[in-house]
Symmetry: C2
Subunit: 543 residues, 2 copies
């Protein structure tokens, strides 16, 4: 039975100290800030400094009957931010556990705590000479590496299929036991940081997108800096070019030419960069087709743009580029190749051309492209967060991108992230299903298709809404529910969901989730860790 | 409580029929045949035809209290063959479930049952036009694909890290429930064959190297045939060249030049091919250093030989070859490049040179190389089983390699398979630890180092012994135990073990195995599936 919160807080205070337990309204407001239309508010916030304190917090939580909701940096924007899935939980904020415990330059890995951010690791690697690159997501330097990986996020580089580049977790379970996966539970093991499978059954998969334990440490593999690196950017003039592009990319992924995650964004993804719907004259909230086409022309972009990195020695990158050109040419797609040298040259030449229209366009493109170029070599940037501000009344913060936090800035954003086989036909069917629903609810349709492995596309679609407009909030929820239901029914299952959908994941599933529940009970019999997280409501078992 | 076996057999007969239940001595002899010095004998053998019969067999086993030991083809040679880990179990032989349920040429995958062999899938793919290649192990065409993958075997091609190329299992648990992993439990899911993670916690890892369930179906990804393919073979003259080779290969794996699994074999791996110790005049069982060196010279090979495949278009393969040459040249290693065209040419020219010594040597090498060339494009061959016959009194079967079965042919063979970080120093330390133990026990030292991922080497070492010689059998066991213990203590943990070591896997481990036991109990409360399989003996919990 749950005890009084004040008793529980005393117990946690005994573990982490007075200065690391918070239950004041200002703090709770900050942790409850969300880009979602609405989200649960935590009862309190704990900020342990190390694994021992996490173990202590779990013990106190068990004793008190109040569950913990672990977060790393709490910047799971668009998917629930720092908020627990349900009411009545205490946030266990691991951001104070932010040590980079080891960087091995020979075997190319880092052992980190959950609070380590993309920016922090990027800086460390740079300080060590830049011989290793991390994989970075578009969420910017302030976000947690572990948090993203544990939610099975993906990035951009050849290490972008992130769960494949993790080797060993340290986990505190709901009974307070400390578990090391892979080979790490053998203290003498030599290959703990290099061989993820271990021996016997592998438990790592249980701790991603789950509430099976609290990850307090993990080893992530890093990418050695290649001799040569180039970004290719390709623009597809017409909406109907997408299916052929997907089929072409599938061939290039399957044959190993494209080792990185290629992202195919629609026009709005580029148009929205650094601007807002209001500033572009969207009537009633969404841009008209005519407005969109005019903006496309003004920006000199096509209906779709895709980009990806090529890595190797100059000969290998050259061979890959020749193969891409041969693949794209029959379709008439224009490919731009960006290298460090070309960027430097453009920096010197373009300002002179800036007084002409084509020069201004080129400068704008150069800015966008430099961000992508850096992102594809693991340099995080806040610039890709601009889309979150699309419907924010106040527009982008004045100091953007030096600072950006869509949740604290009261941006409204919901993500839908279904996966599908990587064929043009599947992408076409997805668009046919979802685009009308966005239009019906009066929202601009943002979509990026990403090649998350050699055979799968993830479509990440954003519902950007004005969070200060109650009517629009409701419409955003209705749009989301309508899309989510339609996608699930059509078999476009999400690779990841926001906290608002976790209860609904068992819809249409057979046999899986009851077994997951049994396994969870074995590791966390009292339900101390994040009840509700990727834990759907199950029908009562039949008598 | 276990019932009488005859009662249990009646129950199983009711499920699978009279003709698929065996308890006669001749059948049990065949299933008990093992390359190990000794192995448990099954009580009976059941051969279900489909998943429903597997479910029925599990129900009957639960009722009877007699556990089932599932095998796919039972050719886990060197690791326990078809034998249960413990006495008192009934073999559930899934070899009759051998349907290839689907081959998707667009998305490059096949859905297969556990009885499907490498040879069977290779033939099917060839019949479909050869646009897809499988990854093949050296164990030949008669072995199960699922069986190898579920034991986390590795192969040769870019798909050689086999657990990464599986997408969705169908499993019958110890309670008879049918589970589909990945997205397969959503009947409508589109990406079930392309997105392995599913949504929420991923359970696949639980069913590899375990006794958590019986896998009745799986989806394996296949590799599109590349435009160009070349095999490189590199010979290292001296024993002490190995560490530099390992460090060089690590660089080429990490930078993406080598996408396949490269195997580095010692001289005996090549010398033993198609010959036996006795025929080469080994005194007291093992070759002397002088004999080995003479054989090396006669075969025209070095102390170490490594080989791997390159895949891409002609430009990409050329760029990779140039990079390899630049990497190997400073060390003075000779690299031979094998292509289809060169093999055809050699076929025409070499027979003419066969009357000269260098010609005969070249012909012998050509034969060896052709097998490797084919293996690296997924064509299984029995020729690599020759090493298992090294100490067999009768030598190779007359019809080898048209037929080969080391267990039925009464070969003696034990494997030790530790993993280590991919550095020359680690490989050197391993050799320094193990080679003297082989010598001490009077066994030839066979070793292959394989780059099982970008950072890890697996060393597969064979103790080949005369199974008909009781003294040698005991020595083989002693040698194995001595090596296994020394390796575990030194932190060279195995990636896979034979049934004789499964009870000992908890040695030195902290916290992991008790949790594994809890999870297993959740899925198989009665211990119906393969008790002992990757299930170490645990110390009794403290009071």
């Amino acid at each position: 039975m749950a005890v009084d919160l004040s008793v529980a807080l005393k117990r946690w205070t005994a573990v982490v100290g007075q200065d690391r337990v918070f239950a004041d309204e200002a703090t709770l407001d900050r942790y409850a800030a969300s880009t979602l239309p609405r989200a649960p508010r935590p009862l309190a916030v704990l900020r342990p400094r190390n694994r021992e304190e996490v173990v202590g917090c779990v013990a106190a939580a068990r004793r008190s009957g109040i569950p913990l909701y672990p977060i790393s940096r709490g910047k799971n924007w668009g998917y629930g931010d720092a908020c627990p899935v349900r009411e009545g939980q205490v946030v266990l904020d691991l951001s104070g556990m932010d040590r980079i415990l080891e960087v091995d330059q020979t075997l190319a890995y880092a052992v980190i705590e959950p609070g380590v951010t993309q920016g922090q690791l990027a800086e460390r690697l740079e300080a060590l000479g830049g011989a290793l690159w991390l994989d970075s997501t578009g969420a910017g330097p302030d976000t947690s590496i572990a948090g993203n990986i544990l939610d099975r996020g993906f990035g951009h580089t050849p290490y972008g299929n992130r769960p494949q580049f993790v080797c060993g977790l340290e986990v505190v379970t709901g009974t307070g036991e400390v578990l090391r996966t892979g080979l790490g539970h053998y203290p003498a093991a030599r290959a703990a940081a290099t061989f993820p499978y271990g021996i016997g059954p592998s438990l790592d998969g249980l701790f991603l997108q789950s509430n099976f334990g609290i990850v307090t440490r993990l080893c992530v593999w890093l990418m050695p800096r290649p001799e040569a690196y180039a970004l290719f950017v390709c623009s597809l003039p017409r909406d109907e070019d997408l299916p052929r592009a997907v089929d072409t990319l599938r061939g290039l992924k399957l044959d190993g030419t494209l080792r990185s995650v290629v992202h195919v964004g629609n026009d709005l993804r580029l148009i929205s960069s650094g601007r807002t719907a209001a500033s572009l004259g969207a009537e009633g909230g969404a841009l008209s087709t005519a407005q969109r086409e005019a903006l496309r022309r003004a920006a000199g972009i096509g209906a779709w743009t895709f980009a990806g990195g090529l890595y190797g020695d100059p000969g290998q990158v050259g061979a890959a580029l020749r193969r891409l050109r041969r693949s794209f040419r029959p379709h008439g797609w224009q490919m731009n190749v960006v290298t460090s040298r070309r960027l430097d040259l453009a920096d010197r030449v373009l300002p002179l051309a800036g007084r002409f229209r084509f020069g201004r366009q080129a400068l704008g493109k150069l800015r966008a492209v430099r961000g992508l170029f850096n992102l594809n070599r693991g340099m995080p940037s806040r610039q890709f967060l601009a889309g979150a501000y699309w419907k924010r009344r106040q527009g982008l913060p004045e100091d953007f991108p030096a600072r950006a936090d869509p949740a604290l800035d009261n941006c409204g954003m919901l993500w839908l992230s279904p996966v599908m086989p990587m064929t043009g036909e599947q992408a076409r069917e997805l668009l046919a299903l979802v685009e009308p629903l966005f239009a019906e609810h009066g929202f601009d349709f943002f979509v990026t298709f990403s090649t998350v492995n050699e055979r799968t596309l993830a479509a990440v679609m954003t519902i950007a809404f004005d969070k200060e407009n109650e009517d629009e909030r409701r419409r955003a929820e209705a749009c989301y529910e309508s899309c989510f239901g339609a996608l699930m029914r059509a078999g476009f299952i999400p690779y990841r969901v926001g906290i608002q959908s976790m209860a609904d994941l068992a819809g249409g599933s057979q046999g899986y989730w009851p077994l997951v529940a049994k396994l969870r009970t074995a590791l966390d019999p009292d339900g101390v860790v994040a009840p509700g997280r990727y834990q759907p409501d199950l029908p009562a078992p039949e008598a």
